[in-house]
Protein backbone atom coordinates (compact mmCIF):
# COMPACT_ATOMS: atom_id res chain seq x y z
CA UNK A 1 0.00 0.00 0.00
CA UNK A 2 1.27 3.43 -0.94
CA UNK A 3 0.89 5.82 1.97
CA UNK A 4 0.53 9.45 0.86
CA UNK A 5 0.63 10.63 4.44
CA UNK A 6 4.12 9.20 5.01
CA UNK A 7 5.35 10.48 1.67
CA UNK A 8 4.14 14.04 2.28
CA UNK A 9 5.35 13.98 5.86
CA UNK A 10 8.92 13.06 4.94
CA UNK A 11 9.11 15.49 2.04
CA UNK A 12 9.58 18.17 4.67
CA UNK A 13 11.60 16.09 7.09
CA UNK A 14 14.57 18.13 8.40
CA UNK A 15 16.51 14.87 8.68
CA UNK A 16 16.25 14.13 4.95
CA UNK A 17 16.53 17.78 3.95
CA UNK A 18 19.82 17.92 5.82
CA UNK A 19 20.84 14.75 3.98
CA UNK A 20 20.09 16.47 0.66
CA UNK A 21 22.16 19.46 1.75
CA UNK A 22 25.03 17.14 2.63
CA UNK A 23 24.75 15.47 -0.79
CA UNK A 24 24.85 18.87 -2.46
CA UNK A 25 27.79 19.90 -0.29
CA UNK A 26 29.90 16.82 -0.98
CA UNK A 27 29.11 17.16 -4.69
CA UNK A 28 30.26 20.77 -4.76
CA UNK A 29 33.40 19.98 -2.80
CA UNK A 30 34.20 16.98 -5.02
CA UNK A 31 33.58 19.13 -8.10
CA UNK A 32 36.05 21.70 -6.80
CA UNK A 33 38.65 19.00 -6.19
CA UNK A 34 37.90 17.53 -9.61
CA UNK A 35 38.27 20.88 -11.35
CA UNK A 36 41.67 21.51 -9.82
CA UNK A 37 42.93 17.99 -10.57
CA UNK A 38 41.30 18.03 -14.01
CA UNK A 39 42.91 21.33 -14.94
CA UNK A 40 46.33 20.17 -13.78
CA UNK A 41 45.98 16.85 -15.60
CA UNK A 42 44.71 18.56 -18.76
CA UNK A 43 47.67 20.95 -18.84
CA UNK A 44 50.09 18.13 -18.08
CA UNK A 45 48.69 16.06 -20.94
CA UNK A 46 49.35 18.95 -23.32
CA UNK A 47 53.00 19.22 -22.33
CA UNK A 48 55.67 18.52 -24.94
CA UNK A 49 57.59 16.52 -22.29
CA UNK A 50 56.66 12.85 -22.09
CA UNK A 51 57.50 12.52 -18.42
CA UNK A 52 54.98 15.27 -17.68
CA UNK A 53 52.33 13.80 -19.97
CA UNK A 54 52.63 10.20 -18.83
CA UNK A 55 51.59 10.52 -15.16
CA UNK A 56 48.52 12.51 -16.18
CA UNK A 57 47.58 9.94 -18.81
CA UNK A 58 48.01 7.18 -16.26
CA UNK A 59 45.73 9.01 -13.84
CA UNK A 60 42.99 9.52 -16.40
CA UNK A 61 43.27 5.93 -17.63
CA UNK A 62 43.17 4.45 -14.14
CA UNK A 63 40.25 6.39 -12.73
CA UNK A 64 38.13 6.35 -15.86
CA UNK A 65 38.74 2.65 -16.23
CA UNK A 66 37.54 1.53 -12.81
CA UNK A 67 34.13 1.96 -11.12
CA UNK A 68 33.92 4.84 -8.68
CA UNK A 69 32.20 2.54 -6.17
CA UNK A 70 35.25 0.27 -6.17
CA UNK A 71 37.50 3.32 -5.79
CA UNK A 72 35.49 4.54 -2.79
CA UNK A 73 35.63 1.16 -1.07
CA UNK A 74 39.36 0.81 -1.69
CA UNK A 75 40.02 4.28 -0.27
CA UNK A 76 37.81 3.81 2.79
CA UNK A 77 38.23 0.15 3.70
CA UNK A 78 41.37 -0.85 1.80
CA UNK A 79 43.91 1.91 2.35
CA UNK A 80 43.95 1.61 6.18
CA UNK A 81 45.70 -1.71 5.60
CA UNK A 82 48.74 0.21 4.36
CA UNK A 83 48.45 2.85 7.01
CA UNK A 84 46.39 5.46 5.19
CA UNK A 85 43.26 6.01 7.24
CA UNK A 86 40.84 8.59 5.97
CA UNK A 87 37.56 9.40 7.66
CA UNK A 88 34.24 8.82 5.95
CA UNK A 89 33.85 12.35 4.61
CA UNK A 90 37.49 12.61 3.56
CA UNK A 91 37.26 9.25 1.78
CA UNK A 92 34.12 10.32 -0.06
CA UNK A 93 35.65 13.65 -1.01
CA UNK A 94 38.89 12.08 -2.25
CA UNK A 95 37.12 9.24 -4.06
CA UNK A 96 34.52 11.37 -5.80
CA UNK A 97 36.91 14.27 -6.45
CA UNK A 98 39.76 12.23 -7.87
CA UNK A 99 37.39 10.24 -10.06
CA UNK A 100 35.69 13.41 -11.28
CA UNK A 101 39.06 14.99 -12.04
CA UNK A 102 39.86 12.20 -14.49
CA UNK A 103 36.71 12.95 -16.46
CA UNK A 104 37.06 16.71 -16.24
CA UNK A 105 40.66 16.47 -17.48
CA UNK A 106 39.36 15.21 -20.82
CA UNK A 107 36.63 17.86 -20.98
CA UNK A 108 39.06 20.66 -20.15
CA UNK A 109 41.69 19.41 -22.58
CA UNK A 110 39.16 19.26 -25.39
CA UNK A 111 38.02 22.80 -24.52
CA UNK A 112 41.55 24.21 -24.56
CA UNK A 113 42.33 22.41 -27.82
CA UNK A 114 39.24 23.87 -29.44
CA UNK A 115 40.61 27.42 -29.06
CA UNK A 116 42.37 28.20 -32.36
CA UNK A 117 46.18 28.10 -32.23
CA UNK A 118 46.28 31.62 -33.62
CA UNK A 119 44.82 32.96 -30.38
CA UNK A 120 47.78 31.54 -28.51
CA UNK A 121 50.27 32.95 -31.00
CA UNK A 122 48.66 36.39 -31.00
CA UNK A 123 48.82 36.52 -27.20
CA UNK A 124 52.47 35.46 -27.24
CA UNK A 125 53.25 38.05 -29.92
CA UNK A 126 51.75 40.76 -27.72
CA UNK A 127 54.31 39.73 -25.10
CA UNK A 128 52.20 37.62 -22.75
CA UNK A 129 53.91 34.83 -20.84
CA UNK A 130 52.56 31.31 -21.17
CA UNK A 131 50.56 31.54 -17.96
CA UNK A 132 49.16 34.97 -18.79
CA UNK A 133 48.22 33.73 -22.26
CA UNK A 134 46.30 30.90 -20.64
CA UNK A 135 44.57 33.12 -18.08
CA UNK A 136 43.71 36.09 -20.26
CA UNK A 137 43.14 34.57 -23.68
CA UNK A 138 42.77 30.78 -23.70
CA UNK A 139 40.78 29.87 -20.57
CA UNK A 140 38.02 32.45 -21.03
CA UNK A 141 37.39 31.15 -24.54
CA UNK A 142 37.78 27.50 -23.59
CA UNK A 143 35.38 28.01 -20.69
CA UNK A 144 32.53 28.80 -23.06
CA UNK A 145 33.07 25.50 -24.81
CA UNK A 146 33.65 23.56 -21.61
CA UNK A 147 30.60 24.90 -19.77
CA UNK A 148 27.90 22.56 -21.17
CA UNK A 149 29.84 19.31 -20.56
CA UNK A 150 30.98 20.70 -17.21
CA UNK A 151 27.36 21.30 -16.22
CA UNK A 152 26.45 17.77 -17.25
CA UNK A 153 29.35 16.44 -15.22
CA UNK A 154 28.06 18.21 -12.11
CA UNK A 155 24.58 16.86 -12.73
CA UNK A 156 26.05 13.37 -12.88
CA UNK A 157 28.18 13.97 -9.80
CA UNK A 158 25.17 14.93 -7.65
CA UNK A 159 23.68 11.52 -8.44
CA UNK A 160 26.98 9.64 -8.18
CA UNK A 161 27.48 11.11 -4.69
CA UNK A 162 24.81 8.66 -3.52
CA UNK A 163 27.48 5.94 -3.83
CA UNK A 164 29.14 7.45 -0.77
CA UNK A 165 26.35 5.80 1.20
CA UNK A 166 28.17 2.53 0.56
CA UNK A 167 31.01 3.70 2.80
CA UNK A 168 28.45 4.84 5.38
CA UNK A 169 28.63 8.53 4.64
CA UNK A 170 25.41 10.04 5.97
CA UNK A 171 24.26 11.81 2.86
CA UNK A 172 20.76 11.72 1.41
CA UNK A 173 20.62 8.06 0.39
CA UNK A 174 22.26 6.77 3.57
CA UNK A 175 19.88 8.80 5.73
CA UNK A 176 16.94 7.46 3.73
CA UNK A 177 18.17 3.89 4.26
CA UNK A 178 18.54 4.50 8.00
CA UNK A 179 15.02 5.87 8.13
CA UNK A 180 13.67 2.92 6.18
CA UNK A 181 15.17 0.52 8.71
CA UNK A 182 13.14 2.23 11.42
CA UNK A 183 9.93 3.17 9.64
CA UNK A 184 9.64 0.28 7.12
CA UNK A 185 8.12 2.65 4.52
CA UNK A 186 10.44 1.54 1.75
CA UNK A 187 8.71 2.91 -1.35
CA UNK A 188 7.59 6.22 0.11
CA UNK A 189 10.95 7.08 1.64
CA UNK A 190 13.04 6.17 -1.40
CA UNK A 191 10.61 8.15 -3.53
CA UNK A 192 11.21 11.16 -1.28
CA UNK A 193 14.96 10.68 -1.80
CA UNK A 194 14.47 10.39 -5.56
CA UNK A 195 12.39 13.56 -5.51
CA UNK A 196 15.16 15.43 -3.69
CA UNK A 197 17.73 14.35 -6.27
CA UNK A 198 15.31 15.42 -8.99
CA UNK A 199 14.89 18.86 -7.42
CA UNK A 200 18.67 19.28 -7.11
CA UNK A 201 19.39 18.34 -10.72
CA UNK A 202 16.46 20.41 -12.01
CA UNK A 203 17.54 23.52 -10.15
CA UNK A 204 21.08 22.96 -11.44
CA UNK A 205 19.66 22.68 -14.95
CA UNK A 206 18.22 26.17 -14.63
CA UNK A 207 21.47 27.56 -13.28
CA UNK A 208 23.39 25.85 -16.09
CA UNK A 209 21.17 27.36 -18.80
CA UNK A 210 21.60 30.77 -17.25
CA UNK A 211 25.36 30.39 -17.08
CA UNK A 212 25.57 29.21 -20.67
CA UNK A 213 23.42 32.08 -21.90
CA UNK A 214 25.64 34.51 -20.02
CA UNK A 215 28.84 33.02 -21.35
CA UNK A 216 27.78 33.09 -24.98
CA UNK A 217 26.35 36.59 -24.74
CA UNK A 218 29.61 38.46 -25.09
CA UNK A 219 30.66 36.84 -28.32
CA UNK A 220 27.35 36.93 -30.15
CA UNK A 221 26.45 40.44 -29.07
CA UNK A 222 26.06 42.89 -31.88
CA UNK A 223 27.66 46.32 -32.00
CA UNK A 224 25.99 48.78 -29.65
CA UNK A 225 26.09 51.47 -32.28
CA UNK A 226 24.40 50.79 -35.60
CA UNK A 227 27.02 49.56 -37.98
CA UNK A 228 28.22 52.29 -40.30
CA UNK A 229 29.87 51.17 -43.47
CA UNK A 230 33.49 52.20 -43.30
CA UNK A 231 34.35 54.22 -46.32
CA UNK A 232 37.38 52.97 -48.17
CA UNK A 233 40.39 55.20 -47.77
CA UNK A 234 41.29 55.48 -51.40
CA UNK A 235 44.73 56.62 -52.21
CA UNK A 236 45.81 55.39 -55.53
CA UNK A 237 43.97 52.45 -56.93
CA UNK A 238 46.12 52.28 -60.00
CA UNK A 239 49.11 51.64 -57.80
CA UNK A 240 47.36 49.64 -55.14
CA UNK A 241 45.25 47.15 -57.02
CA UNK A 242 45.94 43.69 -55.73
CA UNK A 243 47.10 40.56 -57.41
CA UNK A 244 45.03 37.44 -57.61
CA UNK A 245 47.05 35.32 -55.24
Amino acid sequence: MWDWGTFLHYIFSPYLLTGAAISLGISMAAMAVGLVLGLIAALMRMSPLWWVRQPASLYVWLFRGTPVLVQLIIIYTGLPQIGISLGVVASALVGLGVNEGAYLAEIIRAGINSVPKGQFEAARAVGMTWSKTMRVVIFPQAFRIILPPLGNAFNGLMKTSSLASAISMEELLRRTELLVQVKFKVLELFCVAALYYLVLTTLWGFIQSWLEARASRSVTSRPLTPSVATKPINIDNAVLSHDAS
Binding site: A125, V126, T230, D243
Partner: protein, 271 residues
Amino acid sequence: MTHLEQVSPPPVRPIVIEARGIHKSFGPLHVLDNVDLVVRRGEVVVIIGPSGSGKSTFLRTLNFLDAPDRGQVSINGSLLGSTMRDGKAVPLSDAKLSTQRRQIGMVFQQFNLFGHMNALDNVRCGPVHVLGRQPDKAAEDARRLLALVGLSDKETTYPAALSGGQQQRVAIARALAMEPAAMLFDEPTSALDPEMVDEVLNVMLDLAAKGMTMVIVTHEIRFAYRAADRIVFMENGRIVEEGCPASMKDSPKHERTRRFLKQINHGDMRS
Protein backbone atom coordinates in the same frame (compact mmCIF):
# COMPACT_ATOMS: atom_id res chain seq x y z
CA MET B 1 57.52 61.51 -45.68
CA THR B 2 61.27 61.42 -45.80
CA HIS B 3 62.20 57.85 -46.48
CA LEU B 4 59.58 57.28 -49.17
CA GLU B 5 61.69 59.27 -51.58
CA GLN B 6 64.94 57.72 -50.54
CA VAL B 7 66.22 54.75 -52.40
CA SER B 8 67.75 53.34 -49.25
CA PRO B 9 68.07 54.79 -45.79
CA PRO B 10 71.41 56.26 -44.79
CA PRO B 11 73.60 53.78 -42.94
CA VAL B 12 73.78 55.97 -39.86
CA ARG B 13 70.36 54.80 -38.77
CA PRO B 14 70.54 52.31 -35.91
CA ILE B 15 69.82 48.67 -36.58
CA VAL B 16 66.50 47.50 -35.14
CA ILE B 17 66.37 43.89 -36.31
CA GLU B 18 69.44 41.85 -37.08
CA ALA B 19 69.10 38.21 -38.07
CA ARG B 20 72.26 36.20 -38.69
CA GLY B 21 72.58 32.71 -40.14
CA ILE B 22 69.04 31.62 -39.41
CA HIS B 23 68.38 27.91 -39.94
CA LYS B 24 65.08 26.18 -39.35
CA SER B 25 63.90 22.67 -40.12
CA PHE B 26 60.54 21.03 -39.65
CA GLY B 27 61.40 17.35 -39.55
CA PRO B 28 63.33 16.53 -42.72
CA LEU B 29 62.27 19.80 -44.32
CA HIS B 30 65.00 22.44 -44.29
CA VAL B 31 62.78 25.53 -44.38
CA LEU B 32 65.36 28.21 -43.69
CA ASP B 33 68.93 27.85 -44.91
CA ASN B 34 71.30 30.45 -43.52
CA VAL B 35 69.16 33.57 -43.82
CA ASP B 36 70.55 37.00 -42.91
CA LEU B 37 68.59 40.22 -42.66
CA VAL B 38 69.33 43.64 -41.23
CA VAL B 39 66.53 46.15 -40.79
CA ARG B 40 67.30 49.72 -39.77
CA ARG B 41 65.04 52.15 -37.99
CA GLY B 42 62.23 53.45 -40.17
CA GLU B 43 62.95 50.98 -42.91
CA VAL B 44 60.19 49.10 -44.72
CA VAL B 45 61.38 45.70 -45.91
CA VAL B 46 59.04 43.61 -48.03
CA ILE B 47 59.75 39.91 -48.39
CA ILE B 48 58.37 38.26 -51.48
CA GLY B 49 58.71 34.78 -52.89
CA PRO B 50 56.74 31.73 -53.98
CA SER B 51 54.66 29.73 -51.51
CA GLY B 52 56.83 27.46 -49.42
CA SER B 53 59.90 29.64 -49.84
CA GLY B 54 60.14 30.02 -46.06
CA LYS B 55 59.30 33.72 -45.91
CA SER B 56 56.54 33.35 -43.31
CA THR B 57 58.66 31.02 -41.20
CA PHE B 58 61.52 33.49 -41.39
CA LEU B 59 59.24 36.28 -40.19
CA ARG B 60 58.12 34.09 -37.29
CA THR B 61 61.70 33.45 -36.22
CA LEU B 62 62.20 37.22 -35.92
CA ASN B 63 60.06 37.27 -32.75
CA PHE B 64 60.73 33.65 -31.78
CA LEU B 65 57.20 32.41 -32.44
CA ASP B 66 59.28 29.76 -34.19
CA ALA B 67 62.65 29.60 -32.51
CA PRO B 68 65.43 29.18 -35.08
CA ASP B 69 67.43 25.94 -34.88
CA ARG B 70 70.63 27.88 -35.49
CA GLY B 71 71.49 31.53 -35.89
CA GLN B 72 70.79 34.65 -33.91
CA VAL B 73 68.22 37.40 -33.88
CA SER B 74 68.94 40.71 -32.17
CA ILE B 75 66.43 43.43 -31.47
CA ASN B 76 67.90 46.87 -30.80
CA GLY B 77 71.24 45.22 -30.22
CA SER B 78 70.13 42.68 -27.62
CA LEU B 79 70.09 39.00 -28.38
CA LEU B 80 66.60 37.49 -28.62
CA GLY B 81 65.62 34.30 -26.83
CA SER B 82 69.01 33.47 -25.40
CA THR B 83 71.89 34.96 -23.52
CA MET B 84 75.61 34.33 -23.83
CA ARG B 85 77.13 32.63 -20.82
CA ASP B 86 80.74 31.45 -20.96
CA GLY B 87 80.66 31.75 -24.73
CA LYS B 88 77.60 29.54 -25.04
CA ALA B 89 74.05 30.56 -25.88
CA VAL B 90 71.72 29.72 -22.99
CA PRO B 91 67.96 29.87 -23.66
CA LEU B 92 66.11 32.62 -21.81
CA SER B 93 63.17 31.94 -19.51
CA ASP B 94 59.65 32.33 -20.84
CA ALA B 95 59.19 35.52 -18.82
CA LYS B 96 62.36 37.12 -20.21
CA LEU B 97 61.60 36.14 -23.80
CA SER B 98 58.06 37.51 -23.40
CA THR B 99 59.48 40.80 -22.22
CA GLN B 100 61.70 40.93 -25.31
CA ARG B 101 58.74 40.17 -27.57
CA ARG B 102 56.95 43.35 -26.46
CA GLN B 103 59.34 45.27 -28.68
CA ILE B 104 58.04 43.63 -31.84
CA GLY B 105 54.45 43.85 -33.01
CA MET B 106 53.03 41.14 -35.21
CA VAL B 107 50.08 41.07 -37.58
CA PHE B 108 48.83 37.68 -38.78
CA GLN B 109 47.23 36.45 -41.96
CA GLN B 110 44.21 35.23 -39.99
CA PHE B 111 44.00 38.40 -37.82
CA ASN B 112 43.77 36.30 -34.61
CA LEU B 113 41.81 38.91 -32.70
CA PHE B 114 40.83 37.68 -29.25
CA GLY B 115 37.32 36.39 -29.84
CA HIS B 116 35.98 37.10 -26.37
CA MET B 117 36.98 40.77 -26.34
CA ASN B 118 35.53 43.70 -28.22
CA ALA B 119 37.70 45.85 -30.46
CA LEU B 120 38.70 48.27 -27.70
CA ASP B 121 39.62 45.48 -25.27
CA ASN B 122 41.62 43.73 -27.99
CA VAL B 123 43.69 46.87 -28.45
CA ARG B 124 44.23 47.67 -24.76
CA CYS B 125 44.68 44.05 -23.71
CA GLY B 126 48.46 44.14 -24.15
CA PRO B 127 49.05 47.45 -22.37
CA VAL B 128 46.80 46.40 -19.47
CA HIS B 129 47.88 42.79 -19.01
CA VAL B 130 51.50 42.99 -20.15
CA LEU B 131 52.59 46.54 -19.37
CA GLY B 132 50.35 46.95 -16.32
CA ARG B 133 48.77 50.18 -17.54
CA GLN B 134 45.60 51.53 -15.96
CA PRO B 135 42.56 50.24 -17.95
CA ASP B 136 41.10 53.76 -18.29
CA LYS B 137 44.35 55.24 -19.49
CA ALA B 138 44.85 52.30 -21.85
CA ALA B 139 41.33 52.79 -23.20
CA GLU B 140 42.21 56.39 -24.14
CA ASP B 141 45.28 55.24 -26.04
CA ALA B 142 43.30 52.42 -27.63
CA ARG B 143 40.66 54.87 -28.86
CA ARG B 144 43.37 56.97 -30.44
CA LEU B 145 44.73 53.88 -32.23
CA LEU B 146 41.28 52.78 -33.38
CA ALA B 147 40.84 56.27 -34.82
CA LEU B 148 44.19 55.90 -36.56
CA VAL B 149 42.98 52.76 -38.35
CA GLY B 150 39.59 54.37 -39.03
CA LEU B 151 37.49 52.28 -36.66
CA SER B 152 36.40 54.72 -33.96
CA ASP B 153 32.80 53.59 -34.35
CA LYS B 154 33.63 49.94 -33.68
CA GLU B 155 35.13 49.97 -30.22
CA THR B 156 32.36 47.91 -28.61
CA THR B 157 32.07 45.51 -31.54
CA TYR B 158 33.27 41.93 -31.17
CA PRO B 159 35.51 40.39 -33.85
CA ALA B 160 32.74 38.08 -35.04
CA ALA B 161 30.73 41.12 -36.11
CA LEU B 162 33.62 42.79 -37.96
CA SER B 163 34.58 42.30 -41.59
CA GLY B 164 37.98 40.79 -42.38
CA GLY B 165 39.43 44.16 -43.29
CA GLN B 166 38.14 45.70 -40.08
CA GLN B 167 39.49 42.83 -38.01
CA GLN B 168 42.90 43.22 -39.59
CA ARG B 169 42.92 46.94 -38.87
CA VAL B 170 42.02 46.26 -35.22
CA ALA B 171 44.85 43.71 -35.18
CA ILE B 172 47.26 46.38 -36.41
CA ALA B 173 46.03 48.74 -33.69
CA ARG B 174 46.49 45.96 -31.12
CA ALA B 175 50.11 45.50 -32.17
CA LEU B 176 50.74 49.26 -32.20
CA ALA B 177 49.35 49.58 -28.68
CA MET B 178 52.51 47.95 -27.34
CA GLU B 179 54.52 50.78 -28.94
CA PRO B 180 56.82 48.32 -30.67
CA ALA B 181 60.20 49.15 -32.16
CA ALA B 182 59.22 47.22 -35.27
CA MET B 183 56.17 45.59 -36.80
CA LEU B 184 56.03 42.24 -38.58
CA PHE B 185 53.26 41.56 -41.08
CA ASP B 186 52.66 37.96 -42.12
CA GLU B 187 50.66 38.08 -45.37
CA PRO B 188 48.25 40.60 -43.83
CA THR B 189 45.92 40.74 -46.82
CA SER B 190 46.00 37.13 -48.04
CA ALA B 191 42.87 36.10 -46.12
CA LEU B 192 40.88 39.17 -47.18
CA ASP B 193 38.20 39.56 -49.79
CA PRO B 194 39.63 41.63 -52.66
CA GLU B 195 37.56 44.71 -51.86
CA MET B 196 39.02 44.87 -48.36
CA VAL B 197 42.69 44.65 -49.29
CA ASP B 198 43.18 48.35 -49.91
CA GLU B 199 41.81 49.50 -46.55
CA VAL B 200 44.49 47.41 -44.81
CA LEU B 201 47.29 48.35 -47.20
CA ASN B 202 46.41 52.02 -46.77
CA VAL B 203 46.80 51.75 -43.01
CA MET B 204 50.18 50.13 -43.60
CA LEU B 205 51.25 52.87 -46.02
CA ASP B 206 50.21 55.37 -43.40
CA LEU B 207 52.39 53.63 -40.82
CA ALA B 208 55.33 53.52 -43.21
CA ALA B 209 54.95 57.24 -43.84
CA LYS B 210 55.01 57.82 -40.08
CA GLY B 211 58.40 56.14 -39.96
CA MET B 212 57.46 52.76 -38.47
CA THR B 213 60.05 50.04 -38.97
CA MET B 214 58.29 47.22 -40.80
CA VAL B 215 58.99 43.78 -42.21
CA ILE B 216 56.20 42.63 -44.47
CA VAL B 217 55.63 39.26 -46.10
CA THR B 218 53.15 39.73 -48.90
CA HIS B 219 52.13 38.81 -52.42
CA GLU B 220 50.99 42.39 -53.09
CA ILE B 221 53.84 43.24 -55.45
CA ARG B 222 52.48 46.68 -56.34
CA PHE B 223 52.29 47.53 -52.67
CA ALA B 224 55.88 46.37 -52.35
CA TYR B 225 57.03 48.62 -55.20
CA ARG B 226 55.28 51.54 -53.63
CA ALA B 227 55.93 51.15 -49.92
CA ALA B 228 59.19 49.24 -49.62
CA ASP B 229 62.61 50.72 -49.06
CA ARG B 230 63.97 47.29 -49.86
CA ILE B 231 62.49 44.18 -51.44
CA VAL B 232 63.83 40.79 -50.47
CA PHE B 233 63.20 37.81 -52.75
CA MET B 234 63.27 34.42 -51.05
CA GLU B 235 63.17 30.98 -52.58
CA ASN B 236 63.80 27.52 -51.10
CA GLY B 237 64.64 28.94 -47.70
CA ARG B 238 67.29 31.34 -48.96
CA ILE B 239 67.45 34.99 -49.86
CA VAL B 240 68.09 34.99 -53.59
CA GLU B 241 68.30 38.70 -54.08
CA GLU B 242 67.47 41.97 -52.40
CA GLY B 243 67.41 45.54 -53.53
CA CYS B 244 65.46 48.76 -53.78
CA PRO B 245 62.07 48.54 -55.51
CA ALA B 246 63.27 50.28 -58.67
CA SER B 247 66.16 47.91 -59.28
CA MET B 248 64.10 44.84 -58.39
CA LYS B 249 61.34 45.93 -60.72
CA ASP B 250 63.40 46.95 -63.69
CA SER B 251 66.59 44.97 -63.48
CA PRO B 252 66.51 41.96 -61.19
CA LYS B 253 69.90 40.28 -61.22
CA HIS B 254 68.76 36.70 -60.94
CA GLU B 255 66.80 34.72 -63.46
CA ARG B 256 64.59 33.23 -60.74
CA THR B 257 63.65 36.67 -59.43
CA ARG B 258 62.80 37.77 -62.94
CA ARG B 259 60.62 34.72 -63.51
CA PHE B 260 58.82 35.16 -60.20
CA LEU B 261 58.12 38.85 -60.78
CA LYS B 262 56.90 38.14 -64.27
CA GLN B 263 54.54 35.48 -62.96
CA ILE B 264 53.21 37.67 -60.19
CA ASN B 265 52.69 40.56 -62.59
CA HIS B 266 50.64 38.26 -64.78
CA GLY B 267 48.41 37.72 -61.76
CA ASP B 268 47.93 41.46 -61.61
CA MET B 269 46.94 41.66 -65.21
CA ARG B 270 44.18 39.16 -64.70
CA SER B 271 42.55 40.95 -61.79
